[in-house]
């Protein structure tokens, strides 16, 4: 780099040397000769000294030998500080490596031999041939002094060799004791010197992460855990669980409870969750934990061990039960000033289309009204008011009761249920408003009211169990639409609750020979939701029996797909061990459903794990060109998305593989690809995916187009994304003559403006670490229904669209004070930066803007407090955050 040769600096040359260390070592002499002339006086002296030492070492006099070795060590140590170049002493000693090795071999055991071994170990750093692991070998025979004294490069090299040696010894089943001593030293050294990632890597290689616990301290545990949790995503099971276990223990050790809880939730380990509560004594922090649990959407019963005081427990349980969610959401809505109810027309924005598109002559009225019902429900979800359903009935036009009747037959079910969605999370108001439909003599209306109660109670638990009390008695109603309403309502309201009472009342339906297929299908689905990810064997049994009882004809029905899906949901994200038995049983099914069941089970079991091998399996399934009639490739394509959706890299790879599948796949695969893309980028409108879907939305195959349109809605769900909104508007004019496609466009428009842009459908939360099982279950169910759009969503089961409510969550950050009252503080919101493995305290967000809370967080955004006045009780600023006043804060 420096054109003028500087006598004191041979850095340039040395650097090059380092780069080619191993190659150069084969022919060191030649190179050295060449350079001889360039050496400065100092270097020349060093070189001569070293040569002298080497000679003396060979001297028979042990005294002289020792002195020489000591001096040699001195020289080496004095110069190992630089990391960027091969230290000169090493360079100059290179020609003598062979001599020294020979000497060492012939030496009798003594301290001197150990000393020489130490030096050889260091020299081997640059000299040893690949795979020889000489450095390690000499180290083990050496004196075993302070490992750090030889410098980082040496330690790092050693660590690498240990890993190799370890795997070799493992295969030979040899002892690794001596290695472990070394590992301990290395780990201690790394942890002290900001190289946590290397320490973790080494420990993972030698499969002894427990060692980490002893070495973490206040200064480095955060970085360590960060690395552990993010590397867990790339590890095969069960290693990932082990890694997270360690992370949990470290967090607990340093009383970093929110993070510990996060990990505990990820592991789905209730024992750990409980431990977090019992270890922490601060009530306020416990409140924060409760908010975190409630966001994850699992059922946790606090007991007296977790919270001693009864009143406190009740209050905390209230938070876990999400009873305050509606309030917080409305606070956000008021702050952002979007309380004003929106009509479907405000969403369609037909006036922005020129000319004819707004309403052609071939409009399908009941279909369009139904679409409007859904759009209205999605857009005004949770706001408690709208302009179709909640208008006071004494209004002059009398539209309130009437909108319901502007829907036809089963459409009324969706219309009545939409009230539940509008009043989402507000159980008191919701039940009050739905009450009037309970007295209806019109069965579809009653079914809708039941479903509405379920939707209304989604994610909210209450001691009184209003949903169970109200819906329970309709499970065995003679009208099957009412039955389905009650069953589906229960499934939504109690998703993830593992409620035994429900199992005992729903399971018999599955094996009731007289029950119609649709009732059985929805019962299976609801059981799957209620026991999502629980691996409950009894439920699995019931569903398996129900599947075996189906006749050939019934197996061909579109709704039958909900049976395997319900089965799959039981194992959602639980991986191989748990699903194995069921997968084995599924091999005995009728061949019509066997493969479908296989694919569904596989994809559900590995959902959110990012397991590359499973993605490959599923891709292989898609590569087959089937004769006809088989429908299992649809769930296989969805499976790719389900497995790969957990982390960014896998996600991008999956998107690219899906493009391939799209090009070469058969028609039935092409139909599922848009849905898979929608799942991968749910509520995260990536431009490339948007473009792909936009292209597919004009596909000649109307099923592909429909799926693409729905997916456009899914990727933009709750974002108000103007680009997608524009695309959909144009599609509405493009398809104004095709009622079915137009219906899909309307639904997608409803998705995009879901909750007026305050909601997200992403099942991931807490900085994309945690995957809410119920949310994923809701989305997956909808997507499976979309695999046969014509007979389910465009048929009379359009209310399966309401399953999406399970995934609906406010994408907000709301700060509350110690009394849980909302307070407004300045926060910076920006694009999240991946800081894993970075040294120091890097910035976690970039391109930020400062807002005051409550704020909306878009996909991939992160918030941080912009004031020191308060301390947040959770490091993950999402959802509800309790702020504590900073005692050290001083007003300036």
């Amino acid at each position: 780099m420096a054109p003028v040769p500087d006598p004191n600096n041979v850095g340039g040359g040395a650097k090059r040397d380092e780069a080619t260390t191993k190659v150069a070592s084969k022919d060191p002499k030649k190179k050295d000769d060449k350079k001889e002339d360039d050496l400065s006086e100092e270097d020349l002296e060093l070189k001569q000294n070293l040569e002298l030492y080497v000679e003396r070492v060979q001297d028979p006099n042990p005294e002289l030998q020792k002195a020489a070795l000591e001096s040699m060590r001195q020289e080496i140590r004095a110069s190992t500080s630089s990391m960027t170049s091969v230290p000169k002493p090493l360079k100059f000693l290179r020609p003598h490596y062979g001599t020294l090795k020979e000497l060492h071999k012939n030496m009798a055991d003594s301290d001197l031999k150990k000393l020489l071994a130490d030096i050889l170990s260091v020299l081997a750093l640059t000299m040893s041939a690949e795979g020889e692991r000489e450095s390690l070998g000499y180290r083990l025979t050496g004196s075993g002094g302070d490992i750090g004294s030889w410098g980082h490069e040496y330690v790092r090299n050693l660590a690498g060799e240990i890993a190799e040696e370890y795997t070799m010894r493992q295969s030979e089943e040899a002892s690794v004791e001596d290695l472990m001593d070394l590992v301990k030293q290395i780990v201690a050294f790394h942890m002290k010197h900001n190289a946590e990632t290397e320490a973790v890597d080494l420990l993972m290689d030698v499969e002894d992460l427990d060692l980490l616990l002893a070495h973490v301290d206040r200064t480095n545990f955060r970085r360590t855990c960060n690395y552990l949790t993010s590397s867990a995503k790339f590890l095969p099971g069960p290693d990932d669980m082990l890694v997270l276990d360690i992370a949990y223990m470290i967090y607990m050790k340093f009383e970093e409870y929110p993070n510990a809880l996060q990990v505990a939730l990820f592991l789905d380990n209730m024992q750990y969750v409980k431990q977090v509560f019992t270890s922490c004594s601060d009530l306020l922090r416990k409140k924060q934990f409760c908010y975190m649990i409630s966001r994850h959407g699992i059922t946790v019963e606090l007991d007296s061990e977790m919270v001693a005081d009864k009143d406190d427990r009740d209050m905390l349980q209230d938070i876990v039960n999400n009873t305050k969610l509606s309030e917080g959401y409305l606070t956000l809505a008021r702050d952002i000033e979007v309380m004003e109810a929106k009509t479907p027309e405000d969403i369609y924005k037909a006036h922005l289309l020129d000319g004819r598109a707004s309403s052609g002559p071939s409009v399908d009225s009941a279909r369009q009204n139904l679409a409007a019902t859904f759009v209205n429900a999605f857009v005004n979800a949770g706001f408690g008011q709208d302009k179709l359903m909640t208008v006071p009935s004494d209004a002059a036009s009398g539209t309130a009761g009437n909108w319901l009747f502007k829907n036809k037959e089963h459409g009324k079910t969706s219309a009545a249920a939409s009230l539940g969605m509008i009043l989402l999370w507000d159980v008191d108001a919701g039940l009050t408003q739905l009450d009037k439909y309970f007295h209806s003599t019109d069965n579809p209306v009653l079914a809708g009211a039941l479903l509405g109660v379920g939707i209304n109670n989604c994610g909210i638990k209450s001691d009184c169990d209003p949903a169970l009390a109200l819906l329970g008695e309709y499970i065995d109603n003679e009208d099957s639409s009412v039955r389905i309403g009650a069953i589906m309502g229960l499934g939504i309201a109690y998703a993830g609750s593992q409620n035994d009472q429900l199992r005992s009342s729903l399971s018999p339906i599955l094996n009731d020979a007289k029950a119609p297929l649709d009732v059985i299908a929805f019962a299976a689905l609801s059981l799957g939701m209620i026991y999502v990810g629980s691996c409950n064997e009894e439920v699995a049994q019931s569903i398996i029996f129900a599947l075996m009882d189906r006749s050939e004809a019934q197996l061909g029905d579109a709704l039958t797909r909900f049976l395997p899906l319900g089965l799959g949901l039981l194992y959602l994200g639980k991986q191989q061990e748990s699903v194995e038995a069921t997968a084995e049983v599924s091999k005995t099914f009728n061949e019509k459903i066997r493969k479908y069941c296989d694919m569904t089970l596989l994809s559900c079991a590995y959902a959110g794990t990012g397991n590359v091998l499973k993605v490959q399996d599923l891709l292989a399934q898609c590569g087959e060109h089937l004769e006809k009639g088989d429908i299992h490739q649809g769930p296989a394509v969805l499976g790719i998305a389900m497995v790969a959706m957990s982390e960014e890299l896998g996600l991008d790879m999956a998107i690219r593989s899906l493009e391939r599948v799209l090009q070469y796949g058969e028609q039935n695969i092409r139909r599922a690809v848009p849905l898979a893309l929608g799942l991968l980028c749910i509520s995260n409108p990536k431009v490339n995916v948007m473009d792909t879907l936009s292209r597919l939305s004009h596909d000649t195959d109307s099923e592909v187009a429909m799926a693409a349109i729905i997916s456009l809605g899914l990727i933009g769900a709750g974002t108000n994304n103007a680009r997608i909104a524009g695309m959909l508007r144009n599609l509405s004019s493009y398809y104004y003559k095709d009622a079915s496609l137009l219906f899909c466009v309307r639904i997608a428009q409803g998705f995009v403006h879901m909750g007026k842009g305050l909601l997200t459908l992403s099942p991931f939360h807490s900085e994309r670490l945690l995957l809410s099982p119920t949310a994923l279950a809701g989305i997956v169910t909808l997507l499976h229904a979309c695999l046969d759009m014509k007979s389910i969503i465009l048929g009379k089961y359009h209310y399966v669209l309401y399953f999406i409510v399970l995934a609906m969550q406010p994408r907000m950050m709301l700060t509350v004070d110690e009394n849980l009252k909302p307070i407004s503080v300045p926060v910076r919101v920006g694009q999240a930066v991946d800081v894993v493995g970075q040294a120091g305290r890097p910035k976690t967000i970039t391109g930020f803007q400062t807002h005051s809370t409550p704020v909306l967080l878009a996909a991939g955004e992160r918030a941080e407090l912009a004031t020191d006045k308060y301390i947040p009780l959770s490091p993950i600023l999402e959802g509800f955050i309790i702020l504590k006043e900073n005692p050290d804060y001083r007003e300036e």
Partner: protein
């Protein structure tokens, strides 16, 4: 309903809360239901029970009878219960929580519901109380329910009216046979209501407007003309009477055929859902007016819509003359004809003469000063002409000033946008923006006499509008002139009758002769006001009359605007209609038609 129940419960309350310990707080409503201490109870209760049956049978509504009759047995339970157990619970209802409600577990839950009825006003049979594992049944046993002291119960229920389906089932567009979808809906009042509701929300149950016309190859000029003229219901009914009236002798064969074809086409348009192909009409039109058959590169040429409009109207006016052939019975003339009185004045000689003429449309001349329709109309009514002056014995320049002498029901205005450019030998188009209003007042274009006639109806109209806006029109009473009586007449009635008259005018079955009378005179009580509402616009897009595209924009009876772009009708907003005033390459108004606003006196 609520009232009746109240009595029953009052009664219940009386029985259960017979005697209170003195000093008990009466203000707390929940306390009122507390049962008296057992020791004190026996005597008054028996008394009470003996009294109750006679009372209750008289008062209670039938369906509750059995429940109350069962009360004596309840009494037995009560007395049986040696140790009394009271539970205090809180009940959550809607957003309210009722604290400290006491339950007497020896009484069936129905009594508890009665307590809640008093607190919430929700009748017991509408109450749903959630307890563990289900709803609280009226006759359940408290001990088996397992309600604990201090437990929070939740109640659901409202006293709201139960939603009932509308008495008349709503018919959806899907339910109708396809052919009827467009036409039938207009005839059913209920459906019109649905339609109007949905049209406001652009959901448009079904179109509610007639079909489009297929372009047969550069026939958009004809299609748009037909669509505009079709929007005149009087013309439609006149045509429907045509066959009855028979063919008068002075109408030639082709005119007759064209008239019949027009009638058929209008009928087809009303009946069909899909675009109609006007093949027959076009053939007849070309036969009658061979200039429309001009070919260019083997294709029929684009023609001037104004020419088509004028020719068609002229033909119709000829054929629709009643056989009596009096001037008044010319239907077309009655609908569209404008009588102009012109004063021709020669400045050189000072000669003056006046003449009258009847035209079917007013011309809006466009010059540099013209920015607005009104200015253009004025411009068009003034003209210079050269003619031989008898006084001077040579040709002299005469000034001609015309004023409107009688108003048509439908006022047609043609924007003179096309002119022959001598230097380039082509028809050029003036792109200048000329605004036109949705509501046109042509009072100042009228002759003195006509103005006088219009005076009173206009005042009336102003009064009505003022009332509509909620302003008390003091002017009329202040004026104190002849109109006094009108102003004092109950405004509601006159308003109704005027709208009724207007509606009647649009009813398609009305014989056309009636309208002629209505249009030409004021005997019937409706008067012209000189105020016109825009009903249709024929626009041209393009740079010359022989090219470009013609489109019709027609206002429906429902008040919404439909754009008829050949076979595609589509809904438009009223704001967009006024944007067709030119000044760019967008559609610009070429012929516009206004409908007179009437007022009844």
């Amino acid at each position: 309903m609520g009232k009746k129940y109240e009595n029953v419960f009052e009664l219940l309350i009386e029985t259960t809360v017979y005697k209170k310990k003195p000093g008990r707080n009466r203000h707390d409503p929940t306390q009122r239901f507390v049962n008296p201490a057992p020791s004190k109870r026996k005597e008054p209760l028996t008394y009470d029970i003996s009294r109750r049956p006679s009372n209750s049978v008289e008062e209670e509504p039938k369906r509750n009878k059995n429940k109350l009759v069962s009360l004596p047995s309840l009494q037995a339970i009560k007395q049986e219960a040696s140790q009394f157990k009271m539970l205090t619970v809180s009940v959550k209802w809607q957003k309210k929580v009722f604290e400290g409600i006491e339950i007497d577990v020896s009484l069936p839950p129905y009594v508890f519901k009665a307590q809640l009825y008093d607190l919430t006003g929700v009748p017991p049979e509408r109450q749903k109380i959630m307890v563990k594992g289900g709803l609280l049944k009226d006759d359940a046993d408290w001990s088996s329910i397992g309600v604990k002291d201090g437990q929070k119960l939740m109640m659901m229920g409202t006293a709201d009216e139960i939603v009932k389906a509308p008495e008349k089932a709503i018919v959806f567009a899907e339910d109708l046979p396809e052919e009827e979808q467009a036409t039938n809906l207009n005839k059913l009042p209920r459906l019109v209501a649905v339609l109007q509701y949905t049209s406001r929300h652009t959901l448009s149950v079904c179109s509610g407007y007639s079909a489009g016309l297929v372009n047969l190859g550069n026939t958009c000029y004809m299609n748009s003309t037909v669509q505009c003229l079709k929007s005149v219901p009087e013309l439609k009914s006149a045509l429907s009477n045509y066959s009855l009236a028979g063919r008068s002798n002075d109408v030639d064969q082709t005119s007759h055929m064209l008239t019949v074809a027009t009638r058929e086409l209008f009928g087809d348009l009303d009946r069909s859902v899909n675009a109609v192909s006007p093949t027959q009409f076009w053939m007849v039109l070309r036969k009658k007016f061979p200039q429309f058959s001009q070919l260019q590169n083997g294709m029929h040429m684009q023609q001037d819509a104004e020419e088509c409009w004028t020719q068609l109207l002229y033909t119709l006016s000829q054929s629709l003359k009643a056989p009596t052939s009096s001037e008044d019975s010319d239907a077309v003339k009655a609908l569209f004809g404008v009588n102009l009185r012109s004063r021709v004045h020669c400045q050189e000689s000072g000669e003056e003469s006046s003449e009258t003429e009847s035209v079917y449309s007013l011309k809006c001349h466009i010059s540099h000063e013209v920015n607005h329709l009104h200015e253009g109309l004025k411009h068009g009514l003034k003209g210079e002409l050269e003619k031989t002056s008898p006084a001077l014995g040579r040709t002299a320049v005469y000034l001609k000033e015309s004023l409107i002498d009688s108003l048509p029901r439908y006022l047609t205005v043609q924007f003179v946008r096309f002119f022959w450019k001598r230097e380039t030998n082509q028809k050029a188009k003036i792109l200048r923006k000329v605004d036109y209003p949705l509501e046109l007042d042509i009072y100042d274009l009228c002759s003195e006499e006509l103005r006088k006639k219009l005076e009173a109806p206009r005042q009336k109209l102003r009064d009505e509008e003022g009332k509509k806006l909620g302003l008390q029109t003091k002017s009329s009473s202040k004026d104190g002139d002849v109109k006094m009586t009108d102003a004092e007449a109950p405004s509601n009635e006159s308003g109704e009758s005027s709208t009724a008259a207007q509606q009647e005018g649009t009813v398609s079955k009305t014989p056309f002769t009636w309208m002629i009378v209505c249009a030409s005179s004021s005997e019937k009580g409706t008067h012209m006001t000189g105020i016109y509402d825009l009903v249709s616009v024929l626009t041209h897009k393009g740079r010359s009359a022989d090219s470009g595209h013609y489109v019709a924009w027609v206002k429906q009876e429902s008040g919404k605007w439909i754009q008829y772009d050949d076979s595609y009708p589509s809904v438009q907003r009223e704001e967009d209609i006024t944007k067709l005033s030119g000044g760019g390459d967008w559609h610009m108004a070429y012929i516009i038609m206004y409908k007179a606003r009437f007022v009844s006196m």
